[in-house]
Subunit: 211 residues, 2 copies
DNA sequence: CTCCTAAAACTAACGCTGTCAGGTTTCACG
DNA sequence: CGTGAAACCTGACAGCGTTAGTTTTAGGAG
């Protein structure tokens, strides 16, 4: 039955179904045909609303990036940076399966660029030289993406004995599984704190920012 | 002509051809059929030597991890950590296309675990509490993987005007393309320095390590 | 109210993918 | 000298992203 009375599909609906599948089945478990089936529609119907799978994923990624908050730079570079990094990480942690795509994607995504712009502007306004602001932005992104990607603790395996036998220094690695999420969150927070502390030390030892 | 006098394939040969293709054509541009063609062989022949594409990539990833150096912890945790992080990053930067796979892969890879073990051991031996050692290891991995993944500068686009018009604070982003590699290297080095500085400050402010 | 175009779905199909089954030749060993 | 495993082959299957062509309906123009 072609051309139904009321449209079966919408871009927003497609995106949300996409994210649902990716969250559940992983990036590799997502296919246009599966998506179409979930929406009660034939696969080619999707191509009326999205020209390509890549474009669709790009849009979904953009939607996720929209949740990243860069508004806190008005309270100081430290607050702005911390708030940005945390909301960035939180946004990715909510949908870890799409991170490999999202992180690789081109820097053309408007949502990403607007935020990069805001971060850079916030840092420069706080007294950081442009070159350093660029590197701070990049470094923070490294941290967030790295944390969202490998997710250190998820990389471990359930079988405890594997570790105990062969890697003595990882003796308590078996605890990682239990508190996997907590370890990840703590490690990220730890890395972020160390990084920002290092930044603060550098800033105070040379050019102080105009408050 | 089945069963040739001298074998056409070897695991090492397959791995090196795999890496060559991935370096040239990207992870998505790699297929078993293309690999087989490059080796002058039919695709199913590969399955005699590797049970699965995933297993093959896993092995290639392991080979890359073998190049990571964790021997410098004998010279102190700082030296060890820096040397580890740098050689880790260098190993990934040599084959950026495989990073998304490598970073996601399970923590079962022996090469990875041996190194994680050495890092953890080195940090603890230098006086870091076990819990902190875990987080330092994770943090450093975040940094390395994040840097190798998104590769901040590669995310930008050639068309300068895109940025100038719409993202004023990214005004000199057009320079990123030219010095892309340098920016990435500098940013990673910057992040690493800030992080280690932060670590040093934390260590000195509480429990000093036994030298 | 009718006609026409464009929208939004359909089925069929192409070339690609990872992988399996079954066949064929050659090597290594008892 | 025979036999079984090793190492290749061709052919095939299901699933992938995507295109072509068809069909029905909605919405606007005369």
């Amino acid at each position: 039955m072609p051309r139904p009375t009321t449209p079966l599909l919408s871009q927003a609906g497609i995106r949300s179904a996409t994210l649902e599948i990716i969250d559940r089945d992983g990036l590799g478990g997502f296919s246009m045909r599966k998506l179409a089936a979930a929406l009660g529609v034939s696969a080619p119907a999707l191509y009326f609303h999205y020209p390509t799978k890549e474009q669709l994923l790009d849009d979904v990624a953009g939607e996720i990036m929209e949740k990243v908050d860069v508004s806190a730079f008005q309270d100081g570079w430290r607050e702005g940076l911390l708030a940005w990094a945390r909301s960035y990480r939180a946004a990715l942690a909510e949908h870890p399966n799409i991170v490999p795509f999202l992180a690789q994607g081109p820097g053309q995504r408007d949502a990403s660029l607007r935020r990069a712009d805001a971060v850079h502007g916030g840092l420069v306004a706080a007294g950081w030289p442009a070159r350093e602001a660029t590197m701070i932005g990049a470094s923070t992104k490294y941290l967030v993406v790295g944390a969202a990607m490998g997710s250190f603790s998820r990389g471990f395996v359930d079988d405890v004995q594997v570790y105990l036998d062969r890697y003595p220094a990882l003796g308590d690695a078996h605890r990682l599984r239990e508190h996997a999420d907590a370890v990840d969150r703590d490690s990220f927070e730890f890395a972020l704190t160390m990084f920002v502390d290092g930044l603060a030390a550098r800033l105070h030892s040379s050019t102080p920012p105009r408050s």
